[in-house]
């Protein structure tokens, strides 16, 4: 451990930079998907998502910490966004006019980091440093150390207000960029989100897409047994959103749900998901919010995700 000790005040982490090889394969995937027939597209996205889930298993295994359940419920959403929907260039992470993405449920950093790495923002081998001393890859996303991260998240209820600011910012700067933000469903219990939704609708932010990872579980239990969100569609609609309900593990449905706004205001996508999706013994079980798999479970998970 002391080997890595830095003097206070020095930059903490090796700066991460785009990875040319990975960037190339991401660009090839994007190009292929753009023209592919729907079934082929879905198959390719599923393959990419499996790769991300395997990466998450390895990261959490080696870090000994993480939030695997939520990582898996959001993986298909992240994959769809980065491999097909978002208009951005991982080779130039700060390019003006880029679409923005914020993972408001920042505890699912492993899934985001994997997605970013496979998109070429940095080399996938860096994923092995997840949560290690002085790593750029903290347990929650840090924009000052990870290219592609737009704002620091981790405390719930922060991403949506920042996304609202970015959506207003896009309009003010004459950009046609869209802003996507992924919220946990439990996260919606935070009042800051309802403040932000009210403003988003007042400002008719048709460039904002709020995606709710509706896995019906929060940290300790089911959302409806803790602090019910249903009727979530009515809540979101009454706060001015154009509500779309989607299967959060159906790539075609997600792509459809992410289409441009049709009613001149913010879009809210309720993506029905399964926490722990992809690994049989983790699916829809509260304890896998942040349980760490043992060696045998890691083996089995990787097998199921092969």
């Amino acid at each position: 451990m002391t080997e890595q000790t830095l003097t206070r005040g020095e930059p903490h982490a090796t700066a991460l930079t785009p990875d040319p090889a990975q960037l190339e394969s991401w660009r090839a995937l994007r190009a292929r998907l753009a023209d592919a027939p729907p079934a082929e597209r879905a198959a390719a996205l599923a393959t990419a998502a499996r790769q991300t889930r395997r990466s998450v298993v390895r990261m959490i295994d080696s870090a000994g910490q993480g939030h695997i359940g939520g990582d898996f419920s959001v993986t298909d959403i992240l994959t769809t966004l980065y491999a097909y929907v978002l208009r951005l260039d991982p080779g130039e992470p700060e390019r003006a006019g880029r679409d923005r993405f914020i993972l408001s449920k920042g505890h699912c950093a492993a899934s985001l980091y994997s997605t970013l790495a496979y998109s070429g923002y940095f080399a996938p081998r860096e994923l092995a440093t997840f949560m290690q001393p002085l790593s750029a890859l903290n347990g929650h996303p840090n924009r000052t150390t990870v290219p592609g991260v737009e704002t620091n998240t981790g405390p719930l209820g922060h991403g949506l207000p920042v996304a609202v600011g970015e959506a207003i910012g896009a309009r003010l700067t004459g950009s046609d960029a869209r802003v996507f933000v992924v919220m946990g469903d439990g996260e919606l219990q935070e009042g800051s989100n309802w403040e932000a939704l009210m403003a988003a609708s007042q400002y008719r932010l048709d460039n904002l897409v709020v995606i709710v990872d509706r896995n019906r579980l929060q940290q300790g239990a089911r959302t409806e047994e803790t602090n019910a969100l249903d009727p979530l569609d009515e809540k979101l609609a009454s706060f001015g959103c154009e509500v779309r309900v989607s299967d959060g593990h159906d790539f075609a449905a997600l792509i459809e749900a992410f289409r441009p706004a049709e009613r001149g205001g913010p879009v809210a996508v309720i993506a029905n998901t399964i926490k722990g999706k992809g690994v049989s013994f983790m699916e829809d079980r509260a304890e896998w919010h942040h349980k760490v798999p043992n060696a045998e479970q890691v083996r089995q998970a990787l097998e199921e995700l092969a």
Partner: protein, 324 residues
């Protein structure tokens, strides 16, 4: 600069710094289209009416929702704009502190947080409306500049500096009327205190509303042949430990005064550094400020109640010098 005598001073006109703030913001907005303002139903109290009239699209009023306000500020900064996020200081800081921490200081989004009507400016509206914890609250956040302009000129300079090189910044924009205490040659420099008056017996390190009161206290002490140095701590963070160390070495006592709770503000910053200096520089300290929630009363009454007056400062200086 100097202010001749207490008598003269009393006659000086006083100003609400929000006017200078608004004027400068508008001037800047004319030059630089990245400048936007954000507020929480506080168009009037943040003095943004003229700004809104001239730049209707560039005033974002998010309603009564401070957490969202700070998040929106961060998002605007992330879009390449320079947001001045304006709200009554107690709510801008207290209600959104975790947003200030995560979205501004830790994320390093260059948001300019403008805490309007700080300290006890809201007088008889009571402790819920007093922003006297803000310095303690914000000093604990690394990477956030904290500026407390003492008059109109410094308010303008603070606004201009923030726009020129945007970084996470909190500016305390005073409402309680104060006289001008700086002159044209006084330039606000990041992390520097200004010497409002030289002196080598005792030092007042003061901020905001207290600067003019310290100058008056210095006048009073001059009557007893005591030369008081007055340092205007316009930057609470980064803090000017050089000027502090010089004061500790060159004068025999230090009195700090702030319109804030003493727990973690200016006084605590001074004490924490003086304690690390060599023996001769560890001069006696008196730290003036709030130690309890204020009772009912207008701002002047409350400043008097907490001893934050020229008489209170002079008395503290004498006492520190005498009892050492």
């Amino acid at each position: 600069m100097t202010i001749a005598s207490a008598q003269e001073k009393t006659a000086l006109p006083t100003y609400d710094n929000r006017t200078a703030f608004a004027d400068e913001l508008i001037a800047l907005a004319r030059e630089d289209e990245r400048i936007v303002a954000v507020c929480n139903d506080s168009v009037g109290s943040s003095n943004l009416v003229a700004f809104r009239d001239e730049f209707p699209d560039r005033l974002i009023n998010v309603g009564i929702a401070e957490q969202n306000m700070v998040g929106v500020g961060a998002g605007l900064a992330a879009s390449g704009l320079v947001p001045f996020v304006c709200g009554a200081a107690p709510f801008l800081t207290g209600r959104s502190l975790e947003q200030v921490k995560a979205d501004v200081a830790y994320s390093q989004h260059p948001v300019i947080l403008c805490g309007m009507s700080p300290g006890m400016a809201y007088g008889q509206l009571g402790p819920t409306h007093h922003s006297v914890e803000d310095l303690s609250w914000l000093r604990a956040l690394p990477g956030l500049d904290i500026v407390v302009p003492a008059d109109r000129r410094q308010t303008r300079q603070a606004v201009r500096a923030a726009a020129a090189e945007p970084r996470p910044t909190f500016i305390r924009v005073g409402r309680h009327k104060v006289p001008d205490v700086t002159s044209e040659s006084d330039v606000l420099e990041r992390g520097r205190m200004l010497t409002a008056r030289p002196g080598d017996d005792v030092t007042f390190i003061v901020t905001g509303t207290l600067v003019s009161r310290a100058l008056e206290a210095a006048d009073r002490l001059a009557g007893s042949g005591l030369r008081a140095r007055v340092l205007n701590a316009a930057y609470i963070a980064p803090f000017d430990t050089d000027a502090l160390a010089s004061a500790a070495r060159e004068t025999r006592a230090i009195v700090t005064a702030e319109e804030a709770n003493v727990a973690g503000g200016l006084g605590a910053a001074v004490a924490s550094h003086v304690g690390t200096l060599e023996r001769e520089a560890r001069v006696p300290l008196r730290i003036l400020g709030l130690t309890e929630f204020a009772p009912t009363g207008n701002t002047d009454f409350l400043l008097e109640y907490f001893g934050l007056t020229a008489a209170g400062l002079a008395e503290a200086a004498r006492e520190a010098l005498a009892h050492d």
